[in-house]
């Protein structure tokens, strides 16, 4: 299939970005040994330093332009993400294509070569706006949902754009190759004037975000409140969309319309993992966008055959993956550690309760309700209490011994003073909750164990005081209430049903 595509396109295709800055101008057909020659030609350290410190004029222009773009995208993208309109940016960036083509045709008809960037971007801006308008009309006048509205606008506008580009190629002046750079981006072709355009636009957009910070925050977090304060949500939405269209339009030239949306979403989605605070999120997102642009443009300038737009996006994706993994609160690692820690705490509390209840039964003091004095339990008894294997149990015991909650001896394990206090607390929580369920939720005594098993770990002090109050008189709760159901050492199956 690929072969067919290749052979078909051989005659008609237009070269994609060939990076001037890479020192590999044009498409040179190099002799290759194997068809799958995918070796990367690494740059020398000197080259690396040259580009990284922006010593070449061309590189400087490109890298700085793209970094500014990343800054603007990161800033406005945060609001777009929080407003849950991420894919709107995708639809409207595709919708700009007919605008570019029409602007080209008009400028060409008026005389001139039709390639003035400002004119093309104006066309793109207008059609981006039309795209947003069409999405709004579909959303408000039909029963179609947002996703369909986006898809319709994206594909139809882009289809029109493709047809128009095709026509432009037939025009006498048709150097449509120049327009093609808007589809996939061609940062390497950036001129100083383009970089300045991007710089100014990025500054204007970032400043507008700062000026409108309060209003946009209101829009993203609480529409209802915004409306009650006299703000028109539609107007605010429009303002946000105008800013997004603006930033998309300046992104077209460097990353291309297919990938423009990535520059808006990915840095802000990555920033979301590092903070819960909007202002910080905007800053982090802007920094990620800027660094992504800087590194991406640098890599693409250094390594041959690395198209700028995709590399920038991949750098941002890398930042996203790192953020998903390492974010302090929401990150996967942090969440896994927190979950493990909780699981361990719960398991140890279960162990303590099991030890306590085992020794309680051994002393046959269940009915008297006194606290247990000599708290040791043999391993053989303990393993029957819950559905844990002997290995899991001994691992838990070792961990509890390290925490000075248990001491293990020849006859079994014993609670330390500290462990005893903790065990009494947990058992007491458990039994108070069981009693509460029996008296107030009308649950049979044989069914309350499972429920209390889960809640015993999270009952706080206030809750216990409250439980004691409402249960006083119903049960002897001081110092240790008796278990309201028969304590059994028979193995418990997964459903918590004792055999």
């Amino acid at each position: 299939m690929l072969l067919a595509v290749l052979s078909i396109l051989h005659g008609t295709q237009i070269a994609v970005a060939s990076d001037q800055a890479s020192g590999n101008p044009g498409r040179s057909i190099r002799p290759v040994n194997s068809i799958a020659d995918s070796s990367i030609h690494w740059p020398s350290a000197e080259q690396f330093l040259r580009v990284l410190t922006l010593r070449d004029f061309n590189t400087r222009v490109v890298v700085l332009g793209v970094a500014c773009l990343g800054l603007a995208c990161g800033t406005i993208g945060t609001f777009l993400l929080l407003r849950k309109r991420s894919l709107t940016a995708d639809a409207l960036s595709h919708a700009t294509l007919p605008g570019i083509a029409i602007a080209f045709i008009i400028m060409a008809k008026l005389g001139g070569d039709g390639k003035q960037l400002a004119g093309l971007l104006l066309g793109a801006f207008i059609f981006g706006g039309l795209g947003v308008g069409a999405i709004l009309v579909i959303r408000h006048t039909t029963r179609l949902k947002d996703d369909a509205a986006l898809g319709i606008v994206l594909s139809v506008f882009f289809g029109v754009g493709l047809s128009l580009l095709n026509l432009i190629q037939q025009m006498p002046l048709g150097h449509a190759a120049g327009l093609n750079r808007f589809i996939f981006g061609k940062a390497a072709s950036m001129l100083p004037v383009d970089a300045w355009t991007i710089l100014i636009a990025a500054l204007v957009i970032s400043l507008s975000c700062l000026v409108l910070f309060k209003e946009l925050t209101l829009l993203c977090f609480d529409q209802g409140y915004a409306r009650s304060q006299g703000w028109s949500v539609i107007t605010l939405d429009m303002v946000l969309m105008v800013l997004v269209v603006g930033v998309t339009v300046i992104a077209l030239q460097s990353v291309g319309l297919v990938l423009a949306v990535a520059m808006l979403i990915i840095p802000s989605a990555a920033a979301r993992f590092w903070t819960e605070h909007l202002a910080r999120m905007v800053i982090i997102s802007a920094v990620i966008g800027m660094v992504g642009g800087y590194l991406g443009a640098t890599i693409s300038a250094l390594v041959p055959r690395m198209p700028t737009g995709p590399v920038i996006v991949l750098v941002c994706s890398g930042a996203f993956i790192v953020s998903v993994a390492c974010g302090p609160k929401r990150g996967v690692v942090a969440r896994t550690v927190a979950q493990k820690r909780l699981g361990r705490r719960v398991a140890i509390q279960h162990l303590l309760r099991a030890v306590y209840e085992c020794s309680e039964m051994a002393e046959k003091k269940v009915s008297s309700g006194n606290t247990v004095a000599n708290v040791t339990a043999p391993l053989g008894e303990l393993v029957k209490v819950r559905s844990w294997s002997i290995n899991q149990l001994s691992r838990l015991i070792r961990s509890a011994c390290r925490g000075k909650l248990l001491v293990s001896g020849n006859s079994g394990v014993a609670l330390t003073d500290h462990g005893l206090r903790e065990a009494e607390r947990v058992v007491r929580n458990h039994r108070l909750w069981e009693t509460y369920l029996i008296h107030y939720a009308d649950i049979a005594p044989s069914h309350v164990d499972r429920d209390a098993d889960e809640i015993e770990h999270i009952l706080g002090h206030d809750m216990i005081v409250h439980l004691e109050q409402i249960l006083s008189g119903k049960v002897k709760s001081d110092p240790m209430p008796p278990s309201p159901h028969h304590l059994s050492v028979a193995p418990t199956d997964v459903n918590g049903v004792t055999a």
Partner: protein, 434 residues
């Protein structure tokens, strides 16, 4: 039109097959609010092709196909993963995943397959115009390969949907119900994703990803405005997709010639025609169209004004005879606060139906009109009593709601109202209830 040849016929056939194949899974995507999934998958196909080539170093169609379909499923998986890990909304996770994979595809293409001159543009444009030249022999006939591939994808989709129609239907409309019925919503989700990926990959080579997106989303969205039944919606979307394909090619070869050009991208024009059909249906659809909604609203408004005119005339008749108010149409207009067109229409339609008559420049109720007016005023005043008695509204606040409710009150409801308010003789303002 310029010369129509066998070439054009085959372009239309290939386009129609592709469009029909896309419209089937597209219907389900649109219903499950996952249209952009089609967009995402059709973009990542590029990465699939590149990876399949890099891993196997082969370029036969089967390898490429499997690679692309697998990456389509990986896309769907990753989107779910990013959504659950990052707790981002589905749109954002789609945006992250598909752009990253697409960027990766572009880089890999450039890195590995540079020297065989692939151009990512083909991903977007496709090469439907040239599909005729790539023929293979099948059952003794020379057929374009694209027709067979797209036809195959269409048949695959059709079979899957026919066999699992009930399951798809339930999981599209009510995932919770489908779970209680023992249909695994996840399995159905990934089946749909497989269907989308297969269709996308099959169509991508011939028509380009942009037309795939258009055909996946636009015809089903159009069909959604035409019907409320899933089976009809599928038929409609296939039909509309084929129409868009036919008109698309015809306009691609004819429209540009009006402006002195030689014809344009068929794929682009097919997408455009799908859009035109959408706009036409959006305007003209019998129930969900904009015009029909406007029409129904006008009819309703006219009915309300007609009833208000009757009510007003009835109230004027109630006034003591000494009270001289002339009931000219202009006065009605002033009191009711409606535009001249609406009131003229309402008055003439009432006169035509024999509810009112003109006598010496003034309007008078006929017996029939009086009955209707009495019914309306009775509803109004009963509602006022009800609102005061049961909802404890102040007597100066009951008029406005009653003014709206009077128009939707029939005789049975009126009797109930009378019962619930103990058959009052007067309303809260002290007026007699007729």
């Amino acid at each position: 039109m310029t010369q129509w040849s066998i070439l054009d016929t085959w372009i239309v056939i290939v386009g129609s097959l592709c469009a029909a194949a896309c419209a089937l899974p597209g219907t389900l995507l649109v219903l499950r609010k996952m249209s952009m999934m089609g967009d995402a998958i059709s973009h990542t196909v590029l990465a699939g092709l590149a990876i399949a080539f890099l891993v196997t170093h082969r370029r036969d169609p089967a390898t490429m196909f499997v690679g692309a379909v697998v990456i389509g499923l990986v896309t769907a998986l990753l989107i779910q993963l990013v959504g659950s890990l990052g707790r981002t909304e589905i749109g954002a996770s789609m945006g992250i995943v598909f752009t990253s994979l697409f960027a990766m595809g572009l880089v890999l293409m450039r890195q590995a397959i540079d020297h065989v001159e692939i151009d990512p543009d083909c991903v977007l444009y496709g090469a439907i115009e040239a599909s005729y030249f790539d023929q293979i022999t099948w059952m003794g006939m020379n057929l374009p390969r694209a027709a067979i591939i797209n036809g195959g994808a269409g048949i695959f989709n059709l079979l899957l949907i026919v066999v699992l129609y009930k399951e798809f239907k339930v999981s599209a409309f009510d995932p919770a119900l489908s779970t209680t019925l023992g249909i695994n919503a996840n399995v159905m989700h990934y089946l749909l994703m497989t269907m989308t990926a297969v269709t996308t990959v099959a169509a991508f080579e011939t028509v380009g990803s942009i037309l795939v997106i258009a055909m996946l989303i636009v015809p089903p969205a159009t069909a959604y405005l035409l019907t409320d039944r899933l089976s009809f919606m599928m038929c409609w979307s296939v039909l509309l997709a084929i129409l868009a394909a036919i008109f698309g090619h015809v306009s691609a070869v004819t429209v540009p010639t009006w402006f002195g050009f030689g014809g344009t991208s068929t794929a682009g024009m097919m997408a455009f025609c799908a859009g035109l059909i959408f706009v036409a249906v959006w305007l003209l659809a019998p129930r969900h169209g904009v015009l029909s909604k406007v029409f129904h609203r006008c009819i309703l408004q006219l009915r309300i004004v007609r009833e208000d005119v009757l009510g007003l005339l009835y109230r004027l008749e109630e006034l003591p005879p000494s009270h001289e108010l002339s009931t000219t149409p202009a006065l009605l207009q002033g009191i009711l606060g409606v535009g001249p067109v609406l009131s003229t229409l309402a008055v003439s339609s009432l006169a035509r139906r024999g509810y009112i008559e003109h006598r010496s420049g003034q309007l008078h109720l006929t017996n029939q009109g009086r009955r209707a007016g009495r019914h309306l005023i009775r509803s109004h005043r009963l509602w006022e009593s009800f609102l005061q008695k049961h909802l404890h509204l102040a007597s100066d606040h009951v008029h406005e709601p009653a003014e709206q409710l009077e128009h939707i009150t029939d005789a049975a409801m009126q009797n109930q109202l009378a019962e619930r308010t103990n058959q009052p003789q007067t309303d809260p303002h002290g007026k007699k209830i007729p």
